[in-house]
Symmetry: C2
Amino acid sequence: MTETAFQDCYIQSLIHCYGCGKNNPEGHQLKSYWLDNYEGSKTIAQFTPKPYHTAIPGFVYGGLLASLIDCHGTGSAAAIVHYKNDLAIGSDPSVRFVTAALNINYLAPTPINKQLELIGEFRHIKDNKVIVDITVSANNIMCAKGEVIAVKMSATFL
Amino acid sequence: MTETAFQDCYIQSLIHCYGCGKNNPEGHQLKSYWLDNYEGSKTIAQFTPKPYHTAIPGFVYGGLLASLIDCHGTGSAAAIVHYKNDLAIGSDPSVRFVTAALNINYLAPTPINKQLELIGEFRHIKDNKVIVDITVSANNIMCAKGEVIAVKMSATFL
């Protein structure tokens, strides 16, 4: 993995996200990176659920998986657009993405006591819109797959 | 709204969900009901985000909306199948639903300091599969709409 998480390069006003902001102490603080040997094409995030992130005893609740897929998707979108334009993700002016649509298929019950691995791949890359396909696996078993349709954040939020 | 939330009628082993379980003190404890005058056709849940459920300052993060839609969807699915079969939702044997797919469109930034209102309507009702369309509004402005494809929970989990 690359050294610095995409989300840790966001500008100061955008690092409070409950899902992935390093300045949100109550949040998940998800961190996304380029997958080793796949810079510019595949992304990775890992997350270990807390015991209380349960759906039914022993298994992760689907809302957490949705949240992780969402933040890994928008983070990956920001990363690939900067990469494609030969810009560092923390460069100014900042380009950030928000979620227009989130589509998830839950494939298998997700064990709560395992590290989850999210892998992102790009299906559509434009400066204003990126579509990211994301899988979530636990113990090398795919538990969910999702699609994040991310659109460029309005300048009014930056 | 009806007096008792759907989720509060679930059997003891199924009330630990982070999204809607009354026995999960760290969770959202979402509560779903029949909408007044729409018993058997429309459901409602209300939720006020915490200040830390932020995406960017002032707005709710999408993962929370996904979580609420998910739990309101599976709760509504359980409610309608019991209703259709003239059973109380807490009756034995319990019928519960899990999410097979969750599809969400984010329509507008969601203000964090307002009560959110989720309204569910049914598009497909079978004993083994229910599809629920759900809108999320804040201050009477629709911020997101989603579809929950809920399937009957395997008896091995009950």
